[in-house]
Amino acid sequence: MTSGPQAAGQAGRMVRLADRDRPRVRFRLDGADCAALAGDTVLTAVLVSAPAVRQSEFGPERRAGFCLMGACQDCWLWQEDGGRLRACSTLIAEGMQLRTVPPEDWQ
């Protein structure tokens, strides 16, 4: 399995400390194949291999979530089909197609 352009080495933000023995789930992030574990939230799935989930609309910085409890709305992520989801309160599912930037035909 390929692991995406950002997945190597220190690219990810989160570090797994426990409960690593779960089935693998495959998904796509910005067109690249990525792997996560069943039971990961979308936020965990993305941030174990990438440093952020989106670009702030109001500043130069990228964003990677903040509260993890559905209150701050910092971790909304795009999907290939144009829909959005809140990454901290959605579980990753096999075949999800996620984007850190809006789909091209949106702009």
Binding site: R13, M14, R16, F58, M69, D74, G83
Partner: protein, 455 residues
């Protein structure tokens, strides 16, 4: 006398308060509706990981494992027996008349009620620190949720900063799980903490547990610090600049910062339901006005950290009391509440003393540099907020209109208290006179499709 079942009772929230409220109603022969945002009942403090995680409760909840398992088991049993009408992963977004509008997995869902018990809990109370908008800066609660519910650390080298019981607890939990912590920076001075200690002795076991945990942190822990700013590059934090209690400057390298100053009551639904609020000096925030049982108005009851920030034990007590008040108001036999009222008093004396021991850093907030981001949602700076005070006067809702602080996606949850402090500082008034942001529905962002399709 009301017949059980004649009135529809809805509980919002399935943490310690909501679970105990549900139990009390079920014991009286009532089948309440329970609406909760979580995938599983338990709330934040007793949050359960998704399926497939195998760490035992003792690892997840430490000394509180027995309480957590008791509540989870109780709730799951009531659901399995059909004693409650349970709606997980459902967010109540609006209240109008006796109608709740919720967003569930499949779309919009409406619930009518005759009586409403709100047990909406609390979230981290945040103060702005220069650089806190960077990716890799999280709330302390987030840091704990990541570890508990996902088994992950949010960075490789962690600085925890802020104040309150969660600061020490999260640090101990991370160290135990094998994470690397570079520093634990407490803005409360040892003097503040000693002054709060006598009041906290109404619950000596908790004080002892806290001191034991603090001892485990050793030289990583610093009291009485001032946070100068988080240094960042494009990827996130590279270090924290801070000054120790003697004023000496330090720079601690890190790639993740966890921030939090105790908790802030989640009161949006209480406000929409018509609650009155009072500014509470100990907790330094606006809290709903109720009687000791949690009655906020006709058919409206509050319980748990969304009412008074007493922690999980106090929330269990408050949940039972709110449900008992509900039963009494329906003319039904209700349990004897004398012992629970005494427990509530003890929890409140402890919690108020703790709030004074680990105070909200009002003076530091008022002194943040103009370029500091106050509103993380829309990148509004302290300078822009201060400037708007001159145009509109020192009132939170006017400043929201002018500077948009409180108008972003989090709806003021993370900027409101700091914003009020900055307004008060600029206008030269007391923070309670800067007012309180009015709640607006929906209290969470809603995909427009959820409403269009179901309309």
């Amino acid at each position: 006398m009301t017949v059980p079942g004649a009135e529809r009772i809805v509980i919002v929230g399935a943490g310690p308060a909501g679970i105990r409220a549900a139990e009390t109603l079920v014991n009286a022969g009532i089948r309440p509706v329970v609406i909760d945002e979580g995938m599983k009942a338990g709330g934040q403090i007793y949050r359960r990981p998704p399926e497939g995680f195998t760490r035992p409760p003792e690892t997840l909840y430490g000394s509180e494992a027995r309480k957590a398992v008791t509540l989870h088991t109780l709730f799951d049993r009531m659901v399995a027996a059909g004693e409650i009408d349970y709606h997980p992963q459902s967010s109540v977004l609006a209240i109008a008349g006796n109608l709740l509008q919720a967003l569930a997995h499949g779309g919009r869902r409406d619930f009518t009620y005759d009586r409403l018990i709100l047990a909406t809990g609390a979230m981290d109370r945040l103060a702005p620190v220069p650089g806190w908008q960077a990716p890799g800066v999280y709330s302390l609660g987030a840091t704990q949720i990541a570890l508990k519910a996902q088994g992950v650390a949010l960075g490789r080298r962690i600085v925890l900063a802020g104040s309150g019981p969660l600061l020490t607890l999260v640090a101990v939990q991370l160290l135990k799980a094998g994470a690397e912590i570079a520093a634990i920076l407490d803005t409360s001075s040892l003097g503040d903490q000693m002054a709060g200690l006598p009041g906290m002795m109404v619950r000596p076991g908790l004080v002892l547990r806290g001191l034991v945990m603090r001892a485990k942190l050793g030289r990583l822990y610093h009291a009485g610090v001032r946070l100068d700013g988080i240094e960042t590059d494009g990827r996130g934090p590279v270090g924290m600049r801070w000054r120790d209690a003697r004023g000496r400057a330090h720079f601690t390298e890190c790639d993740m910062v966890g921030l939090g100053w105790h908790l802030r009551a989640e009161t949006q639904l209480a406000g929409l339901a018509g609650c009155a609020f009072d500014y509470d000096g100990d907790w330094a925030q606006w809290l709903p006005r109720t009687d000791r049982m949690g009655r906020a108005g006709e058919g409206l009851y509050l319980a748990g950290d969304g009412l008074r920030i007493l922690g999980a034990d106090g929330a269990e007590v408050a949940g039972r009391l709110a449900a008992a008040a509900c039963l009494a108001d329906m003319g039904l036999p209700s349990p004897d509440v004398a012992a629970d009222l005494r427990r509530l008093d003890r929890c409140e004396r402890f919690a108020r003393a703790m709030a004074r021991a680990f105070p909200w850093p009002a003076e530091s907030v008022r002194a943040v540099p103009d370029e500091t981001i106050v509103c993380r949602c829309e990148g509004v700076t302290a300078g822009q907020l201060r400037e708007s005070v001159a145009y509109g006067g020192g009132e939170a809702n006017r400043v929201k209109s002018l500077a948009r602080v409180g108008m972003g996606r989090c709806q003021g949850r993370y900027c409101q208290l700091a914003g009020a402090e900055l307004i008060a500082g600029k206008a030269g008034i007391k923070v309670c006179d800067a007012g309180r942001l009015r709640e607006q529905a929906p209290v969470r962002p809603v995909p427009i499709g959820a409403w269009v399709r179901d309309a």
